[in-house]
């Protein structure tokens, strides 16, 4: 710059031109300013004609709802089933895992906390065992150690159940994960192979992600042996392994801003590593993306096992392995659906069940509903967990509560 200015000193006429052009130059720079800022992640991929759409993600309340204010009587279940508020005042309660001594560990997103819920028989005591973490959504437990997945790190707390009131400092297991915040929160679970599985979501609504994103990956519990398990998965924040085959099944959130009914969120089956499930080219197994699908075909990709409905937001899923529910429930999949935001008529806000039968299409039915009343919702089922006694726990991050569903004919 300095040199150019010096040159202009040689010729008064040119200097005048530069001075005269300066405001124009500033205007151009000003017009370029929008390039420096970005739309919020949820609005990415929204067509310009929908810029005034009132649809936006539902805010997370800043405080949990006390049990007495939860209209639990509105929940409908199949005959013989009952639901109760099992624990409340757990801000932003998300995924759950059980310690070997019976402590329920609960992750959160925005709250940044990990909780320990101790069953005192007539009541549940809630302790915060970690706070200030980056969206610690994923929790998994093995051999006395609690593993927690933040956005870019996996931590472990050894011997945690003996030290709930004086938790140890976490040990970093793995800290090489991407730091992107959009779809950065993780589900975490041990596979039957003893490895830790987690998702790395697409860092956007719709984009061509780097190879490091839109995947499910696994590592050994000591942090070694990172490998990709599934690709083309926009964001899976719930998965489980079949109780008999040990194969991976996972839920996936479809892209936004393509319409009320397209695409479906999905349930997938990954019998072995190496499959590509379509994102961002193909959605729900049969809809090419308007932008990224050009020149591609959905037959290139592994199709979903089941379409779960558009925008239903399937989060946690678990095979039912308990003995409390009637025998036909054994090995059914329960799926918690947090419910839609990118749809003019709300859908989801319920717990669904899927029955898999060899050689038949999966049967897909409502199990628990009532968190959505008309167009108003009062709760959002986020995760499910099967307790040793066979009861099904359902976390509701919107209210910071955990429900317990039991069966007694």
């Amino acid at each position: 710059m300095g040199q150019k200015h010096g040159m202009s000193l040689h010729c008064a006429g040119r200097r005048l031109t530069v001075v005269a052009l300066l405001p124009a130059l500033l205007l151009v720079l000003g017009a370029m300013a929008p390039l420096q800022a970005q739309q919020p992640p949820w609005a990415q991929g929204r067509p310009p004609e929908l810029a005034t759409s009132p649809l936006a993600p539902h805010p997370q309340p800043p405080a949990p709802t006390p049990a007495k204010d939860l209209p639990i009587d509105k929940i409908k279940l199949p005959p013989g089933f009952k639901i109760e508020v099992w624990a409340d005042m757990i801000p932003n309660a998300r995924s759950m895992t059980l310690g070997s001594r019976g402590t329920l560990f609960v992750g959160s997103r925005g709250a940044g906390n990990v909780y320990a819920v101790v069953d005192r028989g007539d009541r549940r005591e809630v302790k915060i065992i970690a706070s200030g973490l980056q969206q610690p959504n994923g929790v998994a437990f093995k051999d006395g150690t609690l593993y927690v997945a933040e956005i870019s790190r996996i931590l472990k707390y050894e011997g945690i159940e003996e030290r709930l009131d004086n938790p140890p400092e976490p040990v970093v297991v793995y800290d090489l994960l991407p730091k992107d915040r959009p779809h950065g929160w993780k589900y975490l679970a041990f596979g039957p192979d003893g490895k830790l599985y987690f998702n790395i979501g697409a860092p956007c609504n719709i984009c061509l992600p780097p190879d490091t994103h839109a995947v499910i990956a696994r590592i050994n519990p000591d942090g070694s042996g990172f490998e990709y398990v599934a690709r083309g998965v926009r964001n899976s924040v719930g998965f489980d392994f079949h109780p008999e085959t040990g194969e991976l099944y996972f839920t996936n959130h479809g892209r936004d801003w393509l319409g009320d009914d397209v695409p479906n969120d999905t349930l997938h089956h990954a019998p072995r590593p190496g499959f590509h499930f379509g994102y961002p080219y193909c959605h729900q197994g049969d809809v090419l993306d308007p932008e990224f699908g050009r020149g591609r075909s959905c037959t290139e990709f592994a199709p979903p096992l089941l379409k779960l409905g558009p925008h239903v937001a399937p989060n946690g899923m678990k095979f039912y392995t308990g003995r409390m529910f009637p025998p036909e429930y054994r090995h059914r999949i329960f799926i918690a659906q947090r419910g839609s935001w990118n749809r003019t008529q709300k859908i989801g806000y319920r717990v669904m069940q899927v029955e898999l039968k060899l050689g038949e299409p999966p049967r897909y039915e409502v199990f628990a509903e009532g968190w959505l009343q008309g167009e108003e919702f009062w709760g959002r089922p986020a995760y499910v967990y099967v307790m040793p006694d066979g009861a099904l726990l359902v976390s509701d991050d919107y209210n910071g509560a955990i429900y317990r569903i039991t069966y007694a004919p």
């Binding site: 300013a33 420096q36 405080a63």
Partner: protein, 222 residues
Amino acid sequence: MAGGRDERQPGAGPWYGIKWIVGGLGLLVVGFPLLAGGFGDVEAGRRKAEVCAPCHGADGNSTTPEVPSLAGQPPLYTYYQLLLFQQQQRVSAQMAPVVASLSRQDMQDLAAYYAVQTPAVPPPPRDPAKAEVGRRLVKAHYCDSCHAPGLVGQKHIPRLAGQHYAYLVTQLRAYKTQQRTDLDGTMTIVAQPLSNEEIEALAEYLASLPAGAGLPRPHTAR
């Protein structure tokens, strides 16, 4: 993007059409009782708001530059801020004693009352050139993606149009320096790169913006 639309997509058509927009507006109107009617009791809120009137104005239009106007704020915003004050996640020496004894019903009633008050007509910008810089910053940072077209607020996100200049400057600086609680981190990310001059320009523009601009406000459409 629309040009590349795949014709085989079922259901993509109506999305891009007027039907969708009409449906969306209809939903806004139909869905609103959740936020005002069913949310809190306006009349109960009116009585409970008497204690707030000395600072925030009887009709929610504050005359003190440092005190925010609450008239026409989305009820969910007012409710959540009261919760944050009570939980001391948002710190204010003035608000702390006032909210300590409020029940959630009280907060919802207050929020419902303020939501249906009419925002005062703001003064014109004192420095139109500065306001123009602010207008461009609003565009550059996509403020209307969350604060809604016209910056009238929606859901838990506040109306900025017509808010007091001094209050806006204080809050943007508080986000910039991470002194104000930020539920999802969005405001901290937006505010951190802003210079003091840019913050002042934004406030200059927002303070002069008519409160009723943009989409019809849900409660006036009701």
